[in-house]
């Protein structure tokens, strides 16, 4: 409940710190605004005045790759949410009190935060996604196998580390994938909508 109140207060302050568009942002000079527009224009289709038409929607709906993105995302968001919604319960069931369990959820998430940042930076450096998604998914799978197969607290808790450290970067990269690869505004919008 208190966390909800925190959100309310941040929301009110967010009215002041979210900038609208490059053309109205007060932290940019005119030269910089112009520069951003030119960069975006040079970037294939982002600033094209693409009018909405059903043909583009159909293109997204009939592209097998769009479905593969969806499939990839859904198969990954399921383990992500089961982990984020049940991690406290999983750890408590290993034989800890509720308060201890809450505290013990922190280290796996801290590791997941570090791996997500690291994998994002490295995959950006090499401009590759697939090998990294495979690697981090493998790590996550290892974690879930540990959780499934060994009920002892030690191996299970180790499993939560692998699972969290693997699944968060996997989802982060998978989510960002179609935004990069699907061309055409409407097709991309439909693809993103379908995926999420």
């Amino acid at each position: 409940m208190q966390e909800g109140l925190l959100t309310v207060v941040v929301a009110v302050s967010a009215y002041f710190f979210i900038h609208n568009y490059p053309s109205t942002a007060n932290f940019l000079s005119n030269g910089e605004r112009d520069f951003i527009h030119r960069r975006l224009k040079a970037d294939s289709d982002a600033t094209d005045d693409e009018s909405f038409n059903w043909n583009n929607v159909r293109k997204a709906l009939t592209d097998i790759k769009v479905y593969l993105y969806c499939f990839g995302f859904h198969t990954m968001s399921l383990p992500l949410y089961t982990l984020s919604l049940f991690l406290p319960s999983i750890i408590r069931d290993l034989g800890y009190t509720s308060a201890q369990a809450q505290l013990l959820t922190i280290p796996p998430y801290a590791v997941a935060f570090i791996t997500t940042m690291t994998v994002a930076v490295i995959s950006e450096h090499y401009k590759r996604r697939a090998p990294f998604i495979m690697g981090t998914s493998a790590l996550a799978i290892l974690g879930y196998i540990l959780l499934l197969s060994d009920p002892r607290p030690g191996p299970s808790y180790t499993g939560t580390f692998f699972a969290a450290a693997g699944i968060y970067p996997s989802v982060a990269l998978t989510l960002a994938w179609p935004a990069n690869n699907v061309s055409g505004q409407t097709k991309r919008a439909v693809a993103n909508g379908l995926q999420v």
Binding site: V9, S13, Y81, L85, T105, V171
Partner: protein, 216 residues
């Protein structure tokens, strides 16, 4: 960065050209850094809060939520599913509103809406309340992620966007850690200080955030 410096920027090549990396100028990198510092922290903060508010039910579950409301394991799962139903149904409508209204108005309004909904989560008395609140939490949180992805497309080029999306998603993992700390604190204080002290700590934390936000 001065305007004069920018006048010397060469024509920007198309994103497909292989010589693009070579032509990327220092001012280009500086501008990107400036955008990153201005845009990403607030977006990451909002995403962190959205993940905190959707996953803290997992923390609440072992603090007696299930027992107090008398909901079974399956009913708990139904509540979780209702969140995703609300989420899926309202994603597209939310992005249409974002386009009609402006990001500056819409993203904080969404945040305010789910903040209120998840505060109401603290006062529910029964199963029906749990279902209704979870559904509306899904509705109010649905617009944030697609909204941010669209918003980033107004500022960044395609290949730059991927990286930023991956980065701000790491806030989801951070939210899990924060949720654990907050829940531990509340559980730990229950016997000694009660809730009131914690309410005040949150108010103070919020106040600082607010001041920090105004400085930006």
């Amino acid at each position: 960065m001065s305007d004069a410096k920018l006048e010397h920027v060469p024509e920007i090549p198309s994103s497909d050209s292989s010589s693009q990396e070579d032509l990327r100028t220092a001012s280009d990198k500086n501008l990107l850094r400036k955008l990153d510092l201005k845009l990403l922290p607030p977006l990451t903060l909002l995403y962190l809060l959205s993940f905190l508010d959707r996953s803290n039910v997992g923390n609440a579950r072992i603090e007696g939520l299930v027992a107090d409301l008398g909901i079974s394991g399956n009913e708990y799962l139904t509540g979780l599913t209702l969140f995703f139903i609300g989420y899926v149904l309202f994603e597209v409508p939310c992005n249409i509103i974002l386009k009609l209204w402006t990001p500056r108005m819409w993203l904080p309004t969404l945040t305010l809406a789910w903040g209120v909904v998840s505060t109401l989560m603290g006062v529910i008395q029964n199963k029906a309340g749990f279902f209704v609140v979870r559904f509306f939490l899904g509705v109010s949180e649905s617009g944030l992620f697609p909204g941010i992805v669209y918003y980033l497309s107004l500022w960044y080029r395609r290949e730059e966007r991927t990286y930023r999306i991956s980065l701000f998603f790491s806030a989801a993992a951070l939210a899990g850690a924060f949720g654990g700390i907050l829940a531990w604190g509340i559980a730990h204080m229950r016997g000694t200080g009660g809730y009131n002290g914690w309410r005040w700590i949150f108010i103070l934390v919020c106040f600082q955030l607010h001041l920090g936000a105004l400085r930006i």
